[in-house]
Symmetry: C2
Subunit: 592 residues, 2 copies
């Protein structure tokens, strides 16, 4: 059975040493009273909840899955409901939420690290709470005062959970095609009819009520994405006291049988004249949905970071225990029948890849969480705008780069165990299967790449990219006097310059052939991801060089591995991005 | 539900146009009478068996799995036994076997293409027959005349199936640690006692008897791999008439719950004084086992090629049907609500990656199958030796390069379907889960890489590699006059020169630090794999350039894609191979 211990030491390093977390929070009036000790105590409690409560349910959830009982009734795997009750009683759902509606007002940067831990422990379980948090973001931004009082408070307390109902059988990526209809009831409410699929946490027995956020079309809606509105559709209509009352006409028609995340109920939701209320303005549903979606995308990055970390921990433990073969340089454990497989360079390559991706991912995720806090709470409008622009740029990178890396990490860690990695007993295959969905949902990674290159980089003429490039430049300037860091700053400086040049090239080529954007997008996202990682790893190396304790020496060794073994991926990606559209578009459709 | 149609057109192209299959067979006296029409007829029949008999059982096998009933009784999924009976009645098991013992004597090159098809249709089912074929190879090479009469004939006919019993709970890769004991019974037989794990097709209800080939230690065995002997241990001891008689003391203790290949029973086999007979010489079991293993490794390459092909076919069909979004260059299907997703460059990237890997893999596999036929049947000893040396070099490449590619291919094809790729209904996730084992069993891909670089390349001072390099040189010389092929021959020539240089560098570095071999081995194998593919794709492009029919135009487009998008992977791999051991070995073991 797999184990998990939250990497608190590394979280402290990233949050306080690398990212100056105390000063960062001190600059935000809303969080200025929050000290390091409190944050560490919260993280320690969260770590206990991860290891003691939900991690032991991870394999059970995978094995037993959810059960659809007919008549729209779905139950989560054994133990899930009790764990959720503990979660609510401990106040975890409200932690990162607004005090005005019952939240505890902790910054995103803390919540984000908790989500990493809980995802390591049990992604399928956490999704019930995670989707609620996305619904919280959306209602917080677009809900009416009444909606906030009736629904948001219940979401914040965790009494009720939330969902996002977007996808329909014939449309996922292209929401402009969606057909679900919302007809006015004449009393301010609407009657929604249609079918939604792939609805995570769509139905379950964990909470008293489920608040569905549903995209649908009003009768006068224009065609395409400009005619989509967002509705709030509770499973039970609240009575006058706000308690769950009459059953609404939205029901789970079935649950999907999936490759992984078996513990989360992925439902087909049938809406049969279900009562709903408009959230935000008519026909502006996509805008409201994107608030929820951007939050969910960052959450998906945390899911894969979590899977990568737990996969690493278990693979490393196995590699230290498993005796097989001898070191090429002679027996390392001569008193034993064989050496541990950690003596083999290729086993180390797999484990170091996992470490470099996990620790790089943690640094990137923590920094972007700080940007969200700045965006929400910094007194200076220019700082808020800067953070907002950087987040727009980096959201698709966090989603796609971290989930691609998480997949590679989980697969490599499974490989470390050989045949034992393939059987359920060791739990490694669940990490791989669970991590797989993260590259697909909340916008496939291909869509993230198009969003990054097409919308976020080219549409503003590279202004957002320039903001990020300036940060990298500042680091290069800061570290330039330290010649011992040239092994890191040299490749970082070259990558930045090459990326600036590539961005210009693609921009120019895209004017001649719009397909050049789609063609270059996936390699471009990999390059930007590595630019983020190289920047953060150079800074982590700078903090660690010259310190001779085990933690900093390991950090430095991982940084060196990253620059020697992983960063060279960009060589291939530059070649691909420059290869461009012709090699992709030449084949006639009939020949596929 | 997924579909599968054997790619007979491409098989004909590879076998007859690219690899001159008729002339090749005409040079082998044993096969000289075999004409193209017969081969095509056999492949067509095999294709029908794939699509009509075993493909419809693939999802059933995954869903239902095998059942362990206690007392060592295991049944395969519904339909598997009946399909196996059809397989035996049609004479398929004997197809590629020696006529002296009841085989039909067809060349490996034909069998190999059949295995590709049948793996596309149902890998888990085919493993029952595939392991028998490996047992056939081993008994053919090392069995006594009596063993051949009693056992080999039954394996050839398919009445009995075979297994390889190597792995034990504490050892897989390092077989020198194995503990299973064989004590002489005094009558020429031995009593075997021990536990074997991960035994594919170890117990089932498909055949009347199962012939286990078991590695064990004789009482006087030296320690390590030099003390391992190979034994033949039937499930039922043959009676005087050769029919299954008394039940032998080898039993399935349980079956594993695995990530995939659920239709194949992966057993823990307990030997409790089981009666066995020595195969080959005492203490030379590893040598005999390697005959079986090399055959199995090539078979594993076919498993992933098969998974990659069927994954591609289903992803391509989906991409043509699914309407979502519009082409960046304007609507391609203006009469429809959206364009098919094939208009998106990144969807094409995923599908073209699959095609380039599948078609390149088919060419490599078919050529290596020809080498096996040459090795077995060519009248000229020098030709046989050349083929044997090339096979020694390429076996780990076929195993590891094709299975890594198959994993990437299946994953990308799953991605093409978005959310639909993650649910069982569409079958794509089974291809991914089934393909995953191929990177692990019969020697992990890390072990294949060590075998390639350490044993096959460096141990003979590059002589085998030189044989292969000479073939590439010959192609370069042959194509040099055709300047229109420079886009292919240029990169191929550069890659060959770079690989020669890299091989020398690693050889030199390995003398100073033996860990350099382990460090460089995985990137080195990827480079050699691409050298094989680039060589074959250049030749396929040369055959297709200037022909304006759809097949050859698609081949040329895929070749261009391969050179522009996939071959650049070597840039990263050269960097990794040159990064060497220090970045891998620096981290202290305790820091992992």
């Amino acid at each position: 059975m797999p184990h998990y211990t939250a990497p608190l030491r590394d979280m402290r390093f990233v949050l306080f040493d690398l990212l100056d977390g105390e000063a960062e929070l001190a600059a935000l009036p809303r969080h200025a009273g929050l000290d390091r000790e409190t944050i560490e105590a919260v993280l320690e409690e969260g770590a206990k909840f991860a290891s003691q409560v939900i991690q032991p349910l991870n394999a059970v959830g995978d094995r037993e899955g959810c059960t659809w009982h007919g008549d729209g009734v779905v139950t989560a795997p054994p133990g899930f409901k009790a764990a959720y009750r503990q979660f609510v009683e401990a106040g975890w759902p409200s932690l990162g939420c607004e005090p005005d509606f019952g939240g505890q007002g902790l910054p995103t940067v803390v919540n984000n690290r908790l989500y990493e831990m809980w995802n390591s422990a049990n992604q399928a379980w956490l999704m019930y709470a995670g989707l609620s948090h996305s619904a919280y973001e959306c209602l917080m931004a677009f809900g009416s005062d009444e909606q906030k009082q009736v629904y948001l408070t219940k979401i914040i307390s965790g009494e009720w959970t939330g969902t996002m109902c977007l996808t329909e059988p014939h449309c996922g990526t292209d929401l402009g095609l969606l057909k679900t209809k919302a007809e006015p009831n004449g009393d301010g409410s609407f009657a929604l009819t249609g079918t939604k699929i792939f609805i995570s946490a769509g139905e379950h027995d964990l909470a008293d009520n489920i608040l569905h956020l549903v995209l649908a079309r009003l009768p006068d809606a224009p065609a395409g994405t400009k005619g989509i509105s967002l509705f709030l559709v509770p499973k039970f209509l609240p009575d006058a006291a706000g308690a769950p009352g009459e059953r609404n006409g939205i029901q789970a028609g079935s649950i999907e049988h999936k490759m992984g995340i078996h513990g989360n109920a992925t439902c087909v939701m049938n809406l049969d004249g279900a009562t709903g209320w408009l959230v935000g303005e008519p026909h502006k549903g996509l805008q409201a949905m994107f608030v929820m979606m951007n939050s969910a995308r960052l959450g998906v990055g945390m899911q894969s970071l979590g899977q990568g970390e737990v996969a690493y921990q278990n693979a490393a433990a196995y590699a230290k225990d498993r005796l097989q073969g001898r070191a090429a340089t002679g027996p390392a454990q001569p008193g034993k029948p064989a050496d541990s497989i950690l003596v083999h360079p290729d086993v180390r390559r797999m484990l170091l890849t996992a470490r470099a991706y996990n620790e790089g991912g943690r640094a990137l995720a923590t920094w972007t969480a700080q940007l969200i806090d700045r965006e929400h709470a910094h007194p200076d409008a220019a700082v808020r705008e800067d953070a907002s622009e950087l987040m727009a740029l980096l959201t698709p990178v966090v989603k796609a780069f971290l989930t691609d890396n998480g997949w590679e990490t989980a697969t490599l860690c499974q490989q470390v165990l050989g045949g034992h990695g393939y059987i359920a007993e060791w739990g490694m295959d669940q990490f791989v299967r669970d991590a797989r969905i993260n590259m697909i949902y909340e916008g496939t990674n291909g869509i993230q790449a198009l969003d990054l290159l097409g919308r976020k980089v080219l549409m503003d003429g590279g202004a957002r990219f320039g903001r990020f490039a300036a940060l990298v430049q500042a680091t290069l300037a800061e570290l330039a006097p330290r010649s011992e860091l040239a092994e890191f700053t040299g490749p970082l400086g070259k990558l930045l310059a090459d990326t600036v040049a590539l961005t210009r090239e693609i921009g120019a080529r895209a004017k001649a052939d719009p397909n050049e954007v789609g063609a270059a997008s996936v390699p471009y996202l990999r390059i930007i991801g590595h630019l983020c990682f190289a920047w953060l790893w150079a800074r982590m190396a700078a903090l660690s060089a010259g310190k001779d304790d085990a933690f900093h020496q390991a950090k430095l060794a991982t940084a060196r591995f990253y620059f020697a073994w992983l960063l060279p991926e960009v060589e291939q990606r530059f070649r691909e991005a420059r290869a461009g559209a012709p090699a992709l578009m030449a084949m006639p459709a009939d020949s596929f």
